[in-house]
Symmetry: C2
Subunit: 341 residues, 2 copies
DNA sequence: GCAAGCATTCAAAGCGCTTTGGAAATGATT
DNA sequence: AATCATTTCCAAAGCGCTTTGAATGCTTGC
C-alpha cells in the first residue's frame, strides 16, 4: 500500500492525501477524517525512506559505539543509556541507528554518517579530553550532543554530564569525616574524561585537608569486576593498607567486595567503600537498604536527557550549545563506617 | 556532493558513474578507476536513502528491544550481543536500527517496521514459548532470526540458540557426581524460553538419578544481583539447605556469592555453585582461574552468528529455516567441590 | 567492404514521498 | 451579477539514486 494507491482509492490527489495525513491546514476536516480512516483501514504507513528523501530529514539519530580495539569491552552502562534514549526517540517518531565500530574507525564512521545523510544528529559516547570527534562533527555541521564532556573548554558544544569532580570530592570528604586517612581510588581509564574528573575531585579533597594522596592507592584501568578485585587485593596487601575505597563503578565494586571478603574483612566495618552508582537496571544497589554507600546518578535518565536535548537542537535548528550538569545523590548504604582505631 | 554533480565533473552520465562505483561489469576498467578516484577525491558517498528507495533494499537490520513494563529492566547481555551483531553488520555495510519499546507495543513496532520498509530483516530477542511475534513476522513476510527458540515446534523459522537443556542437565549431573544431593536452581523468569529449558534440564538430571527436586529450592525471577542474593539467603535459611546452586546468570551469581559469604560460608568448599556464563566482556569469570565453574557460551558470538545468519537469509532470498544450536563449555572454576560429609 | 558482434556509454523512467504554483469551487462583498 | 478573497484541491517537479532499453563506436569474420 502506498500513497498513489491510497489516493486512487479515495479519489483524491496524492497531494491532498499527503497533506491530510501530515495535518496541513489547507485540507478540510471532513476529508482529513476520511483520509485518515482509509489509511488505517488499508494499513497505510508512509515509506520512511521516500519520505526522508523528499524532506531531507532522516528522522533518525546515530549512536556510534566504539569498541576499544585493545580490550574488546562493551561499556555495560550502554544498555541502560540506550534504553533511556530509545524511549525518547520512539516517543518522537525517530529511529535509532547504531554503529558499533572499532575505535580506530570512528572518524570514518562519522564522516560516512554525514555523507550518506543517514542521520539527523548523533550522540557522542565516551569522550576523551580534547576529543577529536568534536571538531570533526562541528566541521561536518551535524547536530550532536556529547554524553560527558571532552575538555575544560566545554562551552562550544552541547553536553549532558554528571558532576564527577564534585561527586568524588564529596565522597572523599565523607570518608575523611568518618576519620579515614588512607583512601584508595579504583578508577576507570584516566584518558576518559569522566575518570580524569573523578580523580581531580579525589585529589582536591585531599589537598583541602592537607593530606597527601598515595600513588599506589590510586589504580586505573578498564572497569571490570576483575580489575576491581586485583587492584583491591594488591592494595590490601600493602604495609599500610587503605581503610577506605572509592570505586568508580558498581561492576568494579563487586570485585572490590570479593577481595575484601576473601581477605576475611568486613565491608562497612573493617573497610569502607563508596561507589559511583549508575543505577543500572540489572544491578540495583541492594533493595531497601543500599549495599554500597554511593554517589548515584541514573544513566538511564542521562540517556533520556541526551536524546531530548538533541531532538530539541535539531528542532530548533539553532546552534547555541546547551549544557546539563547533573548532580549526584550521596546515598548512604551499609558499606561505610567510622575508621577502626 | 551527489551523483549528478559528480558525473558532471567527470563528463559522464549518472548511469556510468553509478555502475562504475557499484562494480558493474559493463564499464571499462579505465573509467572505473577514474570514477572511483574522483569519488574519493570529492568525498562522494551515495545517499543511502535514495539508494534504498531505488533498490527497494534498506541495508538495515532491525532489533526490537522490549522493555518489560513491569520491571523496566534492560537485559544486560544486550550490550555484548549488539556488539557482536554490529560487527557483522558494519563489515557488510548494513546499518542497525534499534527500537526500544515497551513490550506491550512490540506488535505495533514490527508492523511499522514492515510497513515503512525501514529494515530488510529483524532479530527477535527474548522469545517466549509460542511467541506471537513469530507468526506475525511470518505473515508480514519479513526475514528474521530468533535469538533463542520459541517453542518445541522449532523447525519452521530460523534461530540461533544455546543448548540450555543439555547445559543445565550436565551441570546438575556434575554436582550429583560430586556427591551433592540437594541442588538449588536460581533461574530467570520461566515464561522465557531459555529459562524453561534450563529448568527442564535440571529436572531431567534429577529424574535420571531418581532424586526428587525440591520446589522451595527452585526460584525464578528477573535476573538481578538482588534476586540472586535474596533467593540464596532464603534457601540457606531452610532446615535442609542445599549444598549446591545452579545459577542462570553471572549477575545473579554475584548476589548468590554475596549471600554465601554473608552466611560465613565458603564457596567451593561449603557450598558449590555452577553458573551459566554468557561471557560478557565487562564481567569476565575471573582471570586465569575461573571464579565460578560455569557452562559457558559467548553471547557476543551468538550476536555475530544471528547477524550473519540473517544476512545470509536475506542474501539467499530463500526461506528454508536455518538453525544453529550452540553447545556450552563446562569450564571448571573454584566454586565447586565435593560435598562435605 | 559490409553485416554482425561486442564493449561502452547514455537518456530517461521510476522508486514513494513532499511541496510549489496554480486552478476550481465556494462564499462574501459591492 | 460581477468581483474578490478563501477554501479546497490538484498536476507536476524534484529529492538522489538504480536500471531499462537504446545508441554509439570498434573490432571481427566472411
Amino acid at each position: 500500500m502506498n500513497l498513489k494507491k491510497l489516493s486512487k482509492i479515495l479519489g483524491l490527489s496524492q497531494t491532498t492525501v499527503s497533506r491530510a495525513l501530515n495535518n496541513y491546514p489547507e485540507v478540510s476536516e471532513a476529508t482529513r477524517e476520511r483520509v485518515k480512516a482509509a489509511a488505517v483501514a488499508h494499513g497505510y504507513r508512509a515509506n520512511i525512506r521516500a519520505k526522508s528523501l523528499a524532506t531531507g530529514r532522516s528522522m533518525a539519530i546515530g549512536h556510534v559505539i566504539p569498541i576499544s580495539t585493545q580490550h574488546e569491552i562493551v561499556n555495560p552502562i550502554f544498555a541502560d543509556f540506550i534504553a533511556g534514549a530509545g524511549e525518547i526517540y520512539s516517543r518522537n517518531q525517530h529511529d535509532m541507528l547504531l554503529s558499533v565500530v572499532p575505535d580506530v574507525d570512528e572518524d570514518r564512521t562519522y564522516r560516512e554518517l554525514a555523507a550518506k545523510a543517514s542521520v539527523d544528529g548523533v550522540i557522542v559516547h565516551g569522550p576523551r579530553p580534547n576529543d577529536p570527534r568534536i571538531p570533526l562533527l562541528q566541521s561536518l555541521n551535524i547536530p550532536f550532543v556529547v554524553h560527558g564532556r571532552a575538555s575544560d573548554e566545554d562551552t562550544d558544544y552541547s553536553w549532558v554530564d554528571v558532576n564527577n569532580r564534585r561527586s568524588f570530592e564529596r565522597a572523599a570528604n565523607f570518608l575523611f569525616d568518618l576519620g579515614h586517612k588512607r583512601l584508595a581510588l579504583i578508577n576507570g581509564l584516566e584518558f576518559m574524561d569522566f575518570a580524569r574528573r573523578r580523580k581531580e575531585g579525589f585529589l582536591a579533597a585531599h589537598a583541602a585537608r592537607g593530606v597527601e594522596a598515595t600513588p599506589v592507592l590510586m589504580a586505573s584501568d578498564e572497569m571490570t569486576e576483575n580489575f576491581g578485585f586485583k587492584a583491591t587485593q594488591a592494595m590490601l596487601a600493602q604495609r599500610q593498607p587503605p581503610t577506605a575505597f572509592i570505586v568508580s563503578s558498581m561492576i568494579m565494586a563487586i570485585g572490590v567486595r570479593r577481595a575484601i571478603s576473601d581477605a576475611r574483612l568486613q565491608m562497612g566495618r573493617d573497610i569502607s567503600v563508596i561507589i559511583h552508582d549508575d543505577a543500572l537496571s540489572y544491578l540495583p544497589n541492594g533493595a531497601e537498604i543500599p549495599i554500597f554507600t554511593a554517589t548515584k546518578s541514573s544513566v538511564h535518565e542521562a540517556g533520556k536527557l541526551c536524546a531530548q536535548m538533541l531532538l530539541d537542537i535539531i528542532d530548533a535548528g539553532d546552534k547555541t550549545p546547551r549544557h546539563t550538569l547533573l548532580e549526584t545523590d550521596l546515598t548512604l548504604g551499609e558499606s561505610t563506617g567510622p575508621v577502626l582505631k
